[in-house]
Symmetry: D2
Subunit: 310 residues, 4 copies
């Protein structure tokens, strides 16, 4: 179960609401509003509210750049220009708010994006549900040897099964003891006071689910996506980034296309890499030794030049 009955009821009430507005409205996103996009085994992402659209970006840019922008005849072209030249302020004029349910260790990465607004479910005030993230077998990867931050090949089946068993048992036992320490609810033992919630929570494991309302402007959301949808990001946050990307594509299709072309699928070449590319284009055969690049940079460059469009 991804939502409590109260949450489902609230969601239904919201989804049924209809009002007239003079604000910019995006029917494609309205259709997704309040709908929980499932992520991982118990998590979700759902859009709660939004402000602005592609036209709002253009409108803000035309205030800033005035007559200068008339030369760019259509909106898509202007938005692409803004993205390419990192004129970020017009994108800040759009705002979106999500309700997200996610494991605590994912929340700890996510929260490092400091420009967003957050209201997280507080385990000082409330009790966390008995819900943990348990990876799918095929996502249990070994530590990568070449890349210290990443994960490599999947574990063998028996090792993976053993890992899953440990994750399940430890999370469940820790939560059971948490509930026991709290001593609340129908099975409360009147002989014991029960430990304060703010203390008992420390017994939970990092794969316990939490949830929050999270609000960001579009510029900072793109920055979040650029980092978290990256192949180097951990799988468990990348799937949240992927769900968010679905909503952004529906919301601001022109800006999203520009983001894909100029950020997500773009490559930055250093001064030295650029010099190598120029030599190559002039017909010279360049190898790592002759390139002046470090081995790591050389492999990054060749990967970029070989890469198929994602």
């Amino acid at each position: 179960m991804r939502l409590t009955p109260e949450q489902q009821a609230e969601l239904d009430a919201e989804a049924g609401r209809r009002a007239e507005t003079r604000r910019p409205t995006v029917p494609e996103l309205e259709a997704m509003l309040f709908r929980a996009l499932p992520v991982l085994d118990h998590g979700f992402v759902r859009v709660i509210d939004y402000m602005g659209d592609d036209a709002a970006i253009v409108q803000a840019a035309r205030v800033s750049y005035g007559a200068g922008t008339r030369r760019v005849s259509e909106d898509a072209g202007l938005i692409r220009y803004l993205m390419r030249h990192r004129h970020s302020t017009p994108f800040e004029m759009c705002e979106i708010k999500y309700h997200v349910k996610l494991p605590i260790f994912v929340a700890r990465q996510w929260i490092r994006h400091r420009t967003a607004n957050v209201n997280e479910y507080s385990a000082r005030y409330s009790i966390l549900d008995r819900e943990f993230y348990i990876p799918e077998l095929r996502h249990l990867a070994a530590q990568s040897a070449s890349n210290r931050q990443g994960s490599g090949a999947p574990l063998a089946a028996d090792e993976a099964e053993r890992v899953l068993a440990l994750l399940r048992e430890d999370a469940a036992r820790c939560h059971d003891h948490y509930a026991q320490m709290l001593n609340e609810g129908p099975e409360r033992d009147p002989a014991r006071s029960g430990l304060a919630r703010e203390l008992a929570r420390m017994n939970l494991t990092l794969n316990t689910y939490t949830q929050w309302y999270w609000k960001s402007d579009l510029h900072n959301l793109f920055h979040f996506l650029a980092l978290r949808a990256d192949p180097h990001a951990q799988h468990e946050i990348r799937v949240y980034a992927a769900a968010i990307m679905q909503t952004v594509r529906a919301w601001v299709p022109m800006a999203f296309q520009a983001f894909e072309d100029y950020r997500l699928n773009a490559v930055t070449l250093s001064a030295q890499m650029l010099a190598v590319v120029r030599r190559m284009l002039a017909g010279e055969a360049v190898d790592q030794a002759g390139s002046g690049l470090s081995r790591r940079e050389w492999s990054e460059l060749t990967a970029a030049l070989r890469r198929d469009a994602r």
Copy 2:
């Protein structure tokens, strides 16, 4: 004229737009949408878009404080509690966007609020109109002797007239020369190239009008209002704060009432002031010498205790 014909046309188009939405909607603010509230002689404030309402604050708080908030039976009480205890994050879940026209010297104060998003009309790309702020006669005050930052009694009529004449003539002459340096438009002299806009603008005076789109969350907007609606703020920015307050009262009436009670009309007593109040309440007659407060703090305390509700 406060708006160009193009702006008026854009405004009329927006004002005529109607769409259905499932988002929280505030009819009182919808009625004000796109309408320019006049400020100073040529300025205005108009709401362009918004996100959230009083209920969105409550909803975010209930996510954070969960079961704990059920005890506060109604929304207004919860909002007042949040404001009183400076639990600011739920207020950040609301967002509002304004189009503002304002003199440059006011814009320079305003921009110091760093948490907002801004797109300002750029004089690198476009030409600034021939519009300046000229104060009303009764707002031409002398330098305050007691308060270095403030202004005191109005100038005598003849001195005031002389000031107005200087302000008018200098602003007009500087703009005329600006236009002459630019050498653009129908009266362009083909014998001269015309100076780049980014350079010519330096000849303008600080009372020239500029405009921008400015977007803020409600928490930071309240902070802006607390500082800029304060009697110590300069008249020319206070009138903008007053116009914004009209829109915020319409938008989130519960939060605005709480803001008035706990911020705008509240007083912070230092540890030492509090000790004095306790002695007074115990029946002791305390004077400045015996209070342990500096003369300035003493006068701030007595003013607070004497003050009629604003």
Copy 3:
């Protein structure tokens, strides 16, 4: 052991360093530099670097307020004035950097202060030590009945012992399984690949220790302290705030005194509370019913008026 041998060696090397500088220098803080102030059972706070002093605050204020500040004859008076009137920018001119070791559930509260800079030990790249926070017996409090966020009376001895046993066992078992899943180090089983670090970490409990470098300007540090040294804050973060306060008192004694008087030990009275105080000072006997205050506000007011200086 609070520090690894490598950390101790690094610390000794830094502590032995001496260089000449023309920058503002505070001997009282230099004496504390790199020294770990113990917090909780395995945590610490230590100052790594700093920038500015009381005089730097004054210097910045005199740039802003120019001639106006000459009237405030001495530095302490000016700093108190700035603090009282929330002129916060001069305090932002001072910066301090800490190395902190703290339980993860405390880190999760702390990180909500978004204006600081952080580099946290990453469990994607490295392995977390087998160190957990286990509260002292006397800090194991029951859930408060009156205050949903706080904790009440201490648990009875046998219930407390049972809680400690659970906390110890669960944290230890979870870490043992974490190590087993990782399958790294001297006891590595070559028959198993070992799970990626970024995944294994999810099995750890929230009282596991982490550490970070954390840097803040003085204005935002005061905001952190005002919230986290507050009696309503959880004990486990309050002790970190207390350790930091020792360092700030040594660093900027004038600013710290002003902070204590005008923030930490100050009280904000709402418009309604102020009206009640005025009636009381006029000799009227006011009770809650006649005060117009809610029960909760009434009790907050009477507590403030009764309170002994902390």
Copy 4:
């Protein structure tokens, strides 16, 4: 005269100060401390204080990336890796504070960088000096026809002379009237009250000089420099960026070199541009029509591929 006698005296006092510290110290930057680097006709940039060095970046990165960073054998390599992969937080651990004197229209661009701390000289409290920026003849450029934001060829001599005369006369006259309205100082006319400073300032032109203390962390400073040292930036802010770059090169030479290679002299290729480069490297002759790029993007790409190392 770039500094008032008081400022020169303060500067001499600071420059003479010597203290012992255990903090990281950079002799190359110490040698520049408090020294005003001249910019434009009356402006300057001088370093007032700093915190951290190249080693502090490495130290913070090693906390975050722990064992993972041991593979990068030396500091310079690690710093280059961080810059290339936009791991920005370690750079935030360094901080620098400047005293800058600059024309108001430059200050208005500069202040858009919101993450810095600023204390600006306030014309509400103090009187602005009679100092204006008057460009050198060779910097008086015509409006660019191809680029709406830039400036093109220099003006003809007689047109340029006429512009300079207007700039000089208007700035001087406006300041004279400002002083007259203020009616302060030795020549005060006792028959007039004098206008409040906060009002009189609106008569000044945008090339009047102001000054401020400005503090930034190194990551955000690099972002500032990337935008403001760019050839598309206006000359009058680029010269400030150039002066700051001198100080940063002295302060953190490894980080600065990485910034030059991976940001300042780097190029970002969009997905489409990259596809074109791949076709070219495969020996195909590609022209704009066949490239799928817009004309503007095509010219940006060919410029990048042709560009000599700056």
